[in-house]
């Protein structure tokens, strides 16, 4: 089943065309890795999908429903955009945990704000809070940080912070989870734990888009790999096709520069 359909997305910043027509589809449960050099538009693409930027042309369709079409961009209310965003989760390169809250609160804050209404009776509020908390503990377990629920972000290593960020994104139950270079801000010895967490999500059947510089990871974890260059998809295919049998000269040059051994 097609879960996400991106059609002809373009985005300009001033006179710079960062995205020059991006289209692809992905299936439910599929993992797509996006690779490419800096400035190729990978991050901007993710940001457009999450509505952190509004693309200039193109449309985004989730589960058959068009949730965004650039032709109607001025008609969308803030509230509509906010709700549409919930189809997607986002994990940032720099984690962006909320420093003033402990790990548990980082995860439960958004679900509580979403689900608890002021007018609810107290018992109902309590029940929802308890349930959200239980789910948060469950998520912490999946990222292997159960014992850190009471810690503050500044007390965690980068890898731990990023795993909390993953749990936080999952708490909103997104259909599709996006990662923007999740290991680029980490010390080399800490990337493994984050990649392992992402891998275990794949094994659990999560639909994910991962922008990454980790070629080995893209090769081993992704179902398909997109190579982006100059704001377009230069090549898309299975890891096998991209890494062993790239059709495009540019793709091969990029992989060689990335010290990827064929």
């Amino acid at each position: 089943m097609t879960c996400l359909e991106i059609k002809n997305i373009t985005k300009k910043f001033g006179d710079t065309k960062v995205l020059r027509g991006i289209s692809f589809e992905m299936e439910k449960g599929e993992v797509i890795a996006i690779i490419g050099s800096s400035g190729s538009g990978k991050t901007t693409l993710l940001r457009c999908i999450n509505f952190l930027e509004k693309c200039d042309t193109g449309s985004i369709t989730v589960n058959g429903t068009e949730i965004y079409n650039a032709e109607k961009r001025d008609q969308y209310s803030d509230n509509y955009i906010r709700k549409s965003r919930l189809n997607f989760g986002m994990v940032f390169q720099s984690f962006n945990l909320f420093p003033q809250y402990d790990v548990l609160k980082n995860i439960t804050l958004a679900p509580e704000l979403m689900q608890i209404k002021r007018k609810m009776p107290d018992t109902e509020k309590k029940n929802i809070r308890r349930q959200i908390k239980e789910e948060a503990y469950e998520l912490l377990k999946t990222v292997g940080l159960s014992e850190k629920a009471g810690a503050y972000p500044c007390e965690l290593s980068g890898g731990q912070q990023q795993r909390v960020a993953i749990a936080r994104a999952l708490a909103m139950k997104p259909q599709i989870l996006c990662f923007d270079e999740p290991t680029s801000a980490l010390d080399p010895e800490l990337t493994g734990e984050v990649l392992k967490a992402i891998k275990s999500l794949r094994d659990a059947g999560r639909t994910m888009i991962v922008v990454t510089h980790e070629m080995e990871f893209a090769k081993n974890v992704a179902d398909r790999v997109i190579y982006m260059s100059d704001g377009i998809i230069e090549e898309i295919g299975t890891p096998q096709q991209i890494f062993s049998d790239a059709q495009s000269e540019k793709t091969r040059a990029f992989l060689q520069k990335s010290n990827y051994e064929f």
């Binding site: 952190l52 906010r82 958004a110």
Partner: protein, 221 residues
């Protein structure tokens, strides 16, 4: 004599405290609203607010007190003297002038604090489906508070001392109370003694701000 002086100074200091607390009560929230105005993406609002902040910060508070208190009556005629002739009117006028003045200073501190929060914090809140106000009040504000405590404590300590300007429109605060003994008994020490009041109160404030800073020290970032 000593007892009379102390009684009199206490009375004046009570007024000082009254101006101080009422100003904080009004200027802290008003400053936040003004800071939103000066960060507005709607240009006319932004420039209007920035002009007001410029005027208020660019002229002496003493002059502002005089204009706000005497202005309406002297410029537009006595029937426009909104402050009346009693003490209450004077006190209200003082508070209005102080609140406007300090709100403008606070607004710039708020603005600095708000703009120092990385964009990623807003975006993290946004992608989790929070509304703009939820992002501001649940994610941003606490971090802003932590960052602005030092400049705020500076400004608030200045406010304690600035209350002495209120005497220019005949509000009986502590400096006036102290000075009046020069006329009545030739003693100057009561005036000097007012310094002790300021010192003690500002010492207390310093301790309070230190406590708040320590309270917020449980996290970094």
């Amino acid at each position: 004599m000593f007892q009379t002086v102390i009684m009199s100074l206490n009375e004046g200091f009570l007024k000082t405290l009254e101006i101080f607390f009422l100003t904080l009560l009004g200027a802290l929230p008003l400053g936040l609203i003004i800071s939103f105005g000066s960060m507005s993406r709607f240009r006319p609002v932004k420039w209007f607010v920035k002009t007001i902040v410029w005027v208020v910060r660019g002229t002496p508070l003493m002059l502002q007190l005089l204009i706000i208190f005497y202005g309406p009556g002297k410029i537009f005629g006595t029937q426009f003297n909104i402050w009346g002739t009693g003490d209450i009117g004077r006190n209200v006028a003082v508070c209005v002038a102080f609140i406007i003045n300090y709100a403008c200073y606070f607004s710039e501190i708020y603005r600095g604090g708000i703009e120092s929060i990385p964009r990623g914090q807003y975006e993290a809140g946004q992608v989790l489906g929070m509304t703009k106000s939820q992002v501001f009040f649940k994610v941003i504000l606490m971090q802003v508070v932590k960052r602005i405590i030092p400049p705020m404590s500076n400004e608030i300590i200045t406010l304690v001392k600035d209350t002495s300007l209120a005497r220019i429109i005949l509000v009986y605060e502590i400096i006036w109370a102290g000075q009046s003994f020069i006329k009545s008994s030739g003693a100057i020490w009561p005036l000097f003694f007012t310094g002790i009041y300021y010192l003690l109160f500002n010492g207390l404030l310093t301790v309070v701000f230190g406590y708040i800073e320590k309270k917020l020290d449980y996290y970094r970032g």
